[in-house]
Structure formats: C-alpha cells, structure tokens
C-alpha cells in the first residue's frame, strides 16, 4: 500500500508494507543510503534519524507509524544550525575512522545540541551511549560536540 512520508521537507510516497522499517524504506525505496543498517534491533544507533526533531532508530520504526511525521536524515541534517555546526566539527576534528556509524552519531549529536546548547560530559554520555562506534572514535565524538557547542556560543 502507498505510505506517505515527509522526509527532509519533501513528501514522498512509498509503495510498501506498513510494517517495513523506515530504515529500509529510506535505503531501498527512497534511495537515501546515508542512514545505515547495523543491528536491526535498536542496539547500535547506526540508523538514527530525527522524527519530529527527536532522535529515533529507523530500524525500529515501521513506516506505517511514521506517516505524517517530519523525518530528517543525515542527507539533510546540515540544513539546521545545530546540524551544520556538528557536521563542520566532525570534519574539522576528522572524527570518522571507517565512518560507518558516523551518520547515526551525527544525528544523535545534533539532537543533543538542538536541546542542550552547552552539554556537559554527562549530557554527552546520556545522549550518545546508544550509538556504537566499532573503531572507538569516542574521544573525538566528545570533543567535536564541545567544539560545535562553542561555535554556537560564538555565533
């Protein structure tokens, strides 16, 4: 059946089972592969997107339940002020190693910065602990979030 999804400000129609996870609708039906498959169980955070501004695991979100909600993915995250600052800090500090988890990390970090402009280490731990990085880039993830927060304070 046709499901209407609002992705990155555009309304897109997907012909698929309403139980299909948003992750796979993005990757297979909408050809947006920036959102990554890691575990399929909400354990790794690689598929993190924003739904109505909140971080959500796209692998655990059936498209039937995401209808009408505002979905933001890595492809458009840098259009927001927080997303731009996070993305810029990620490049500046060269956060990625293999890079596979980083879309999810950036989505979680952006959601944190949008609600908590000056996050403490504890805030960062709480917001980011659902996102695994197998290369263990955690030192730079923490530093980049703080760098992005400082960039916001200056603006």
């Amino acid at each position: 059946m046709a499901i209407s999804l609002k992705v990155n400000g555009q309304t897109r129609s997907v012909e698929a089972d309403p139980a299909k996870p948003l992750l796979w609708a993005l990757r297979e039906d909408l050809d947006m592969v920036g959102t990554k498959f890691g575990c399929g169980a909400g354990l790794c955070g690689a598929c993190t997107v924003h739904i109505d501004g909140n971080p959500a695991r796209a692998c655990q979100t059936p498209i039937g339940e995401a209808q009408g909600m505002a979905i933001t993915t890595i492809e458009a995250v840098a259009k927001s002020d927080a997303g731009k600052r996070i993305s810029d800090a990620w490049v500046k500090l060269d956060v990625p190693q293999c890079g596979y988890c980083q879309a999810g990390q950036i989505m979680s970090a952006t959601a944190l910065l949008a609600t908590t402009p000056n996050p403490s280490d504890e805030d960062i731990d709480a917001a980011m602990m659902g996102n695994l990085c197998r290369c263990s880039t955690y030192v730079r993830i923490r530093a980049a979030i703080k760098d992005a927060a400082r960039a916001g304070a200056k603006a």
Partner: protein, 727 residues
C-alpha cells in the same frame, strides 16, 4: 631483497591523456615483500592542464587511513600542495598494483620507500622537461607547489603546462633518484584529515552496503547454525510463494568456511523482504559430528590437557627441569581467554554480476586477491574473468581478510546470470558466521633464583589445531617474550579439535598473548620483589638486536627500553604508591607488527566494575609519524578496543556446534561513557616507519589486569572481566 630488475621504461612511463593531461604510470619494485615473491607496485599520477593532481589509492580503506597516507607519500616527493590533490580509489589487481592487502599493519613499512620513489620519479621528469625548455641544467631548478622554478631567472612553469614536454622525457634510473631530506617534508608529518571524511559526514554512498546497480536483487543466505552442517531438505516452494520473493536457490558448498557452506539463498527486490521471508524458511540440516563441539567441552578438555604432557614443543632452550629444581622460588598460574567475534559495524556484504562467462564484484574486502582465487575455484572461472572493485569498508579488524561473503555472492549471482545480486548478512549471521579470534589456555611456570632473577620460563599453551598444527591465528611464536631474553625456556603446545572457523582479529595472536604473558610476568615481578618495568628492563638487558626470522626486522631491545622508560616517566609510575586506596596503576609492554608499545593504566572499581581513568601510551614506530592525527586516532581506537575485549563482556560461546551470541546485546562493544583519557607519545628512533593499525592494542589488556591487581588485590586470569570477580 629479491627485487626484480626493471628497465627504465618499465619503471616509469609518462603519456599524454585526453584533454592535455599527463599520466605517469610508475612501476616500483617492492623489496623484501613478506609474501615471498617479488612484487611490483604500480602507482598512477595524473596531472591535469589546470595543475590539479590525481593520485590513485590502491589499498582498501578500512578506517586505518591508507587511502590518505599513501597519496601523501607520493604528493610529498612529487612536490605538490595537498590542496591540489584529488584521490581516486583503484580497483583490485595485484598484477598491476602489487600487494593490496590491508592487514598486519604492513602498508607503511612496505610502501614507505617505493611509494615515495614513485613521486620522486615523476618529479624528475617534470624537472627535466622544464630544463630542456629553458636550456638550463636540471640540477639548477627547484620545485614546489606543483611548479618548476628557475632561481637564476625568476621564471616558473606549472606541472600542468609541462605535460607535453614531460611525456617526451626519458624515464629516470630509479637508482639515481634522491628522496627529500625529512627536514624538508611539507606533507609527511602533517596532520591531514581522511580524504573521505566530508563525504562520510554528508551521508554519501561509499560503502559496500550502499552500492547499487540497476535491476539489482538483494539476497540473504541461510547456512547451518553449526559450522559444517550439510543441507538435507527445506520448504523451498513455500518460501518462493511469499510476497516479494524473486528466487529461492540452494547453494552447494565445498564445506570450507573460507569458501562455501551449503545454504539456501532468498532473492528479492528488497533485502528487508528477503530477510523476512528467511524467517519462514525451515531447513533440515545434517549436523553429522559437528554438533558435538561446545565451549564447556573445550574448557574441560583444556583443563585435562594442562595436567598432562603437551603435544609438542614450540621452543625448548636450556635444561628447564634442572632450572626449576634449582629455583629458590617458583611461580605458577593458569590463564585463559575466549573466542571473540569481529562485529564490524557494516555487516558482511558483497555485490556481484555474472554475465557472459565473467563476473564483476564490488566488495568491501581487505584481501581481494585471496577472494579472486576462491571465486575462481568455486565458479570454475579463469582468474582474469573476475574483476574486483573496492568499496569503502565499514570496519575491517581482520574480518574482511576472509572472503566468504565474496564467494557466496558470486555463487548466488552465477545462478541468475545478467542479474546483479547484493548479498547482505543480518547481524545475527554476521556474529554467527565469523572467523573468530580463537580461545586459548596457558599453564605458566617461572623459576627465580635467590636474587630474584628469572632463570627459567615455561608455558604449556592449549590451543586449537588440526594435524599437529595450530589453526589460523592460534599460533604462538617461538620468540614470545621472555623467550629469546633468557637462556632457559620451554614453550609447548597441545591442540584441541574444533569446528569453529578461526581468523585474524586486530593484532592477531598478540591481543591474547600480550594479556597472558605480561600479566603472568607481573606476578613473577611481584614474587621477585620488583615491579614489571624493572623486570622487563632487566630481561631486555643491553641494547642488542634479536633475529625474528627472514621476513621480519630484528627485535631491538634498545627500542623496547626506550618506550618503557618513556611511559614510566609520562605516567608518574614512581609515585603510584601515593594513589588513594582502591586506585591502582598497571604497566605492560608488547612488541607486535614492528611497533614497540609500553602502556600504563590507572583504574578503580566503580559500582563493582573497573572504571579506567587514564591510559598512557608510549610507542616507537620509527623515525617518522607520517600523519600524526591519524596515528593518534589509531592508538586511541586500539586502546579502547583492547579495553572492550576485557571489559565489555565479549565472549563467543558455542553449544552443539553453533554460536550462541546473536547481536550487540550478547556480544557488546565499548560505549562512549567507557572512554578513558588516553595520552599518547611517540619515541622517534632512526628506523624506517612502521604501521599504527594494531601495535597499540595488545599491551592495554595486561596493563588493565595488572592495574586491577594493584587497585584491588584481585588477580584476573580469565577474560572477559565480570563483576563477580570482585565480589
């Protein structure tokens, strides 16, 4: 040093390409290649009329930084600005590009000289072209920022403008090329970000899982839960009738994990649909004897074997029995560690298109040529009918040195000619179809004389093997320290049988052997009334070189001493007695992948589990850190990964021949709150640079357990560390 003799023409050719650009094909002999056969490195450099420089990156990028580092070496000697450079990934073909394996931290030592020579050769031809145009001697000219300049007249010309003239130059004799003095480096030694970082941050398709072809089908492949089980029957027609299912295919394996096990593949226009349909699949397997293997069984057998005689010696030196009989004091302990999975965050995948008797493959592989051989055998194809393209790799860690996913994708694609197929493992399959870091058990004994000197060392290593030989990555070298440093040593081994496929996990062998040997030596040091750095410095003795076989540089005791002294100074080791009760520092040293690493770690128990506060790392990887930022990142990642192996609860267990763990809840990784402060310093010594992908990992695990002993009095001899150990 069996470098082939090459003609100058073969060494370098320059030609004009469409649009007026200049293409250098550089063929550099690689000396002393560990693989034995002489190898040729082909590098390509394209200089465009607008002076942009395109450099081919020939190795797989797994997050180790090779895609950035190798072009840095060429750009330095070519004498261009990094901002001019664009990097293009090559395809995989060892006949053209030489070794392209990303493994063993070998890329840096293998390519440090030849890749720079490639850049220097191209520069020499550009200089010769400018000299001819201006009628001056080449030696009077200078280069920089992609230009040749003549200091005498003040004129200069861009490399791009020299294309036509450079293409006419005779190739230089490789022996006459001079490389830059390191003090003149402008790119090497700079912190340069990963070339793909902006694309990663923007969510661009880069990885194997992102690759797409028109009309592509997605595949899942179900194989027997117990490794080696064979296919009997399945409800194939029932699954075929499910929505979205395009094909259900039986795959006949050869029974080897490296190539193919029997299986059933489900193909669909949607991977999600294929994976859903998989749940309806009911397969009857013939488990044969493989269902008899279990973790409990291995542990019971190992305990039994440690009480008896070993199967054979690894190394025996001096009179071990006499030394123990004469000892003033002996120390003994048993250590063990579990199987581990790799858990790359990008699950194993591969895309293949079989058409007209040839196959094209897009693979996240660390080791393409091995895959080519396996696919050729499985499909009965000539190797030149197999084209392998690299994708970026969402984590390697040694998992993708194996190419099982490539053979599987090829075998599926061969059944649907003309249709591109992408095989993708789900997470459960990724964890349950791995090539595991093997478990191991060690029975140690050490003899001390009255003065507290180590006089003999004995390890009975119970490992996995077949036909009297260890299985992949289950070896212990005869040079395992303290072997080679004392006169009386016995390292011996016994083998257990297993159906578990085993493989290389980052710092293979070393990630386990460092734990057991450096933790036991910490016990020995205490029995001798000293600390481990002191014992290690005594064992290392005077600066000298100890041979490590024909394909490896010698172990230089002075370099080991250098990093030990450095980390002792960095970490305030001497003041560790002033730490508050419940906090402790531990030390370890390990040499692996040509890198010398000493580490100190500070830990305390928080809520009953170890919380690591700080890790100090001193490393010696030679005279030059090529990309300091990346070297730091590799060291940090290695340290956290090592801590994960000890603290996150990682342990692969087997029941009835099959792996029990299925996802990151049962095989966890470190998470951001587990990240300590990590302080890294390099000791520069006058040796060629070596790799940073692995050697910082092994010492962190023994440093942790030694620190836990200092903090709590508990001696950890089993991994992973669990709260019950401190109860």
């Amino acid at each position: 040093m069996n470098a082939p003799i090459l003609s100058r023409r073969r060494f370098l050719s320059a030609s004009l390409v469409a649009g007026g650009g200049l293409l250098f094909d550089l063929n550099i002999p690689l000396a002393g290649a560990a693989e034995g056969a002489p190898q040729i490195l082909t590098a390509f450099v394209r200089i465009l009329p607008d002076n942009r420089v395109i450099i081919g990156a020939k190795n797989a990028e797994i997050g180790q930084g090779a895609k950035t580092m190798l072009p840095m070496l060429i750009a330095e000697e070519l004498d261009v600005d990094w901002a001019q450079v664009t990097i293009e990934q090559t395809h995989a073909d060892q006949k053209i590009f030489g070794g392209q394996t990303a493994g063993g931290s070998r890329t840096t030592p293998r390519e440090w000289l030849p890749t720079r020579k490639a850049g220097a050769a191209a520069r020499a031809m550009l200089v010769a072209a400018a000299a001819q145009i201006w009628g001056v001697a080449p030696a009077t000219l200078k280069t920089g920022s992609g230009k040749v300049s003549d200091p005498a007249s003040g004129r200069s010309i861009s490399y791009g403008a020299l294309a036509a003239a450079a293409a006419q130059q005779p190739a230089p004799d490789p022996a006459t090329l001079t490389l830059k003095d390191p003090k003149d480096f402008r790119i090497i030694g700079q912190s340069i970000g990963g070339v793909d970082t902006p694309a990663i941050v923007a969510g661009k398709p880069l990885f194997g899982i992102d690759f797409k072809l028109p009309g592509m089908l997605f595949a899942v492949l179900e194989t027997c839960p117990a490794f080696g089980g064979t296919f009997k029957s399945a409800n194939l027609d029932e699954v075929k009738a499910l929505p979205g299912v395009a094909h259900v295919l039986t795959i006949k394996g050869d029974g080897t994990p490296e190539s193919l096990f029997d299986g059933v593949a489900i193909l669909s226009t949607s991977w999600w649909s294929a994976n859903q349909a998989r749940e309806a699949l009911k397969i009857e397997w013939d488990m044969g004897a493989v269902s008899g293997f279990s973790t409990e069984g291995y542990a019971a057998q190992a305990a039994q074997r440690l009480k008896g005689k070993a199967d054979g010696d690894i190394v025996r030196a001096g009179d071990v029995d006499a030394a123990f009989a004469a000892a003033a004091k002996t120390v003994s302990a048993q250590y063990d560690y579990p199987f581990l999975a790799h858990g790359t965050l990008e699950p194993q995948n591969c895309t293949a298109l079989f058409k007209d008797g040839a196959i094209e493959i897009w693979a996240p592989t660390q080791n393409p040529e091995s895959g080519r051989g396996l696919v050729a055998k499985a499909l009965n194809l000539p190797p030149d009918k197999i084209r392998i393209n690299f994708t970026r790799i969402g984590g390697g860690f040694g998992r993708r040195l194996m190419n099982d996913y490539m053979v599987q994708a090829a075998a599926i694609a061969a059944q649907v000619p003309g249709v591109p197929v992408k095989l993708l493992f789900n997470r459960q399959q990724d964890i349950q179809r791995d090539f595991y870091r093997p478990a191991g058990w060690h029975g140690f004994r050490a003899a001390l004389d009255k003065g507290g000197k180590l006089t003999a060392f004995h390890d009975h290593f119970v490992t996995f093997g077949k036909d009297g030989k260890p299985v992949r990555s289950a070896e212990m070298p005869a040079t395992e320290i303290p072997a080679g440093l004392i006169d009386t040593v016995l390292l011996e081994q016994s083998f257990l049988a297993t159906n578990m496929p085993t493989g290389w996990l980052r710092a293979p062998g070393s990630n386990a052997l460092a734990f057991v040997t450096q933790a036991f030596l910490d016990e020995v040091a205490q029995a001798a009334g000293k600390d481990l750095p002191t014992l290690m410095l005594e064992l290392l003795g005077e600066p000298r070189e100890l041979p490590r076989g024909p394909n490896a540089p010698p172990f230089v005791t002075g370099r080991a001493k250098g990093v030990i002294e450095k980390v002792v100074a960095m970490s305030g080791w001497a003041d560790r007695g002033k730490l508050p009760k419940g906090r402790g520092k531990g030390f370890a040293f390990y040499y692996s992948h040509m890198g010398y690493f000493a580490e100190v770690l500070e830990v305390a128990l928080v809520d009953g589990m170890p919380k690591v506060a700080t890790v100090w790392v001193a490393g010696d990887v030679g005279s030059q850190i090529i990309n300091p930022m990346n070297a730091l990142h590799q060291a940090q990642g290695s340290v956290i990964e090592g801590l994960g192996q000890a603290l996150a609860g990682q342990k692969i267990t087997q029941v009835a021949g099959a792996v029990e763990q299925a996802n990151f809840d049962t095989h966890p990784l470190q998470r951001i709150p587990d990240t300590p402060q990590i302080i890294v310093e390099f000791v520069k010594t006058d040796y060629p640079p070596t790799g940073m992908g692995e050697p910082a990992l092994p010492p962190v695990i023994p440093a942790l357990v030694n620190a836990l002993h200092a903090a709590t009095g508990k001696r950890i001899r089993t991994l992973p560390i669990v709260p019950e150990m401190f109860a």
